[in-house]
Symmetry: C2
Subunit: 251 residues, 2 copies
């Protein structure tokens, strides 16, 4: 049977999603536990990789198991063998052709920034800090030019070897307001697309923060999109601010 | 000058507020840093102790310093010498007779419970988990009997040696709803009083959770208040769910 897992993890103590020898990774932990339960080597497919330090509130994975087990028992069996920073929230059975990665039609990430002089202990693992003044009107204005289908070469890792660097961003929202838990001003960048290149969200956010500080303008963003010149975009924002929120599939 | 500090800490890696030889405590950390800045031994007064593992979103402390320094520079100087799990959010100068503990008129705590089968990695340090069904109507009904002036002996640590165990609870609210960050049902108990005995909030919450599970009824709660019999109240809920939210002072 083909099982779909809805996952949450605090990425702080993981070397990202992808299995790597000798390093603690999310895929590695799930593979270890599921191989143990199944009694033979299994392959766990994720909707996509998350980098070291990146979190997930709604990552999706699939795994084929021969063992007959109910979804809720599988969830409990997996969780019972994991440390508390990785949890299976929900399991269901999907058709055999469903694949966490290839069946995904879009994904949504959130990038969080504590905007102020002091970094709250409650956000230090999950947000980046920006202590300088930000012009939110300019940031929102420039964000609009990034929505749509573009070649994202200027907003991705230099070593990104994807065949096509064209992706469609369908949502890019900037919200900010008082976070009572952190007693701070929290800025949230929500980005949805039909696919993401490596460091794409973090480059978009780093660029928009530079816009907010007055270091990059609208013209530079348009040129970066047109020319694919990485130097025109802003710096890559740090990993801990980034969280994979959800993966969308066709019904 | 007499400085007032507004503090946040993630209590997970502290042995509580109070200074103890050889253990990392909040008062100990602040005393170390402020003694260094002042160049002589100083005494840091908190609004009250928090136990090992208990958090603070709004703890208050006072310290007298001879050194002349602006509030914002003092804040930055302290924060620069602390690990990220303890932060001074704000500093102001108060009159010499202001004292973090003796000037406080009331305090507010929040106790958080993740209600469900799976504990979110994002709440594991800050909330207790209850996987059994809870009757919220009964819990809210019984909470009403706890509001007001009572002898709280039945709802406190056996070794509590306070002279009087009479305190007035002015607020005891139970709210629950979907927490999007944890993808879970989060229950929040908010308790305000003119003072708290040791383990008082955690005993109140442990008792109300037992009410929710159908193990303790209204009559037992009333008898516990009347007779001060600790056996009639529920268990003490674990420390990590508890957060000191704010301390109220007279204008």
């Amino acid at each position: 049977m083909n099982f779909r897992l809805l996952l949450q993890y605090d990425g702080t103590d993981f070397h990202g999603w992808q299995m790597q020898d000798g390093l603690r990774t999310v895929q590695g932990e799930l593979t270890r536990v599921l191989t143990l339960l199944e009694g033979r080597e299994v392959t766990v497919h994720g909707s996509g990789r998350t980098d070291s330090g990146v979190h997930a509130e709604g990552q999706v994975a699939t795994v084929h198991l021969e063992r007959e087990i109910s979804p809720s028992k599988l969830r409990n069996a997996i969780n019972g063998n994991l440390k508390p920073d990785l949890r299976v929230l929900f399991v269901d059975i999907v058709t055999d052709d469903f694949h966490a990665r290839y069946s995904a039609v879009s994904k949504t990430y959130c990038y969080r920034v504590v905007h102020g002089q002091v970094m709250s202990p409650f956000w230090v693992r999950y947000a980046h800090q920006e202590s300088r003044a930000l012009d939110f009107a300019s940031m929102k204005h420039c964000a609009r030019f990034l929505i749509g289908e573009h070649d994202w070469t200027a907003f991705s890792a230099a070593q990104s070897n994807a065949e096509s660097r064209v992706r469609t961003v369908t949502q890019l929202e900037i919200q900010h307001g008082w976070d009572s838990r952190g007693c701070c001003d929290l800025v949230e960048f929500t980005v949805s697309a039909n696919g993401f290149l490596r460091y794409m969200v973090r480059s978009i956010v780093g660029t928009l923060l530079a816009v907010g500080r007055g270091e990059i303008d609208e013209a530079a963003i348009k040129r970066a999109l047109d020319t694919s010149d990485r130097e025109l975009a802003g710096p890559t924002a740090p990993a801990p601010g980034l969280t994979l929120m959800s993966v969308q599939y066709e019904e």
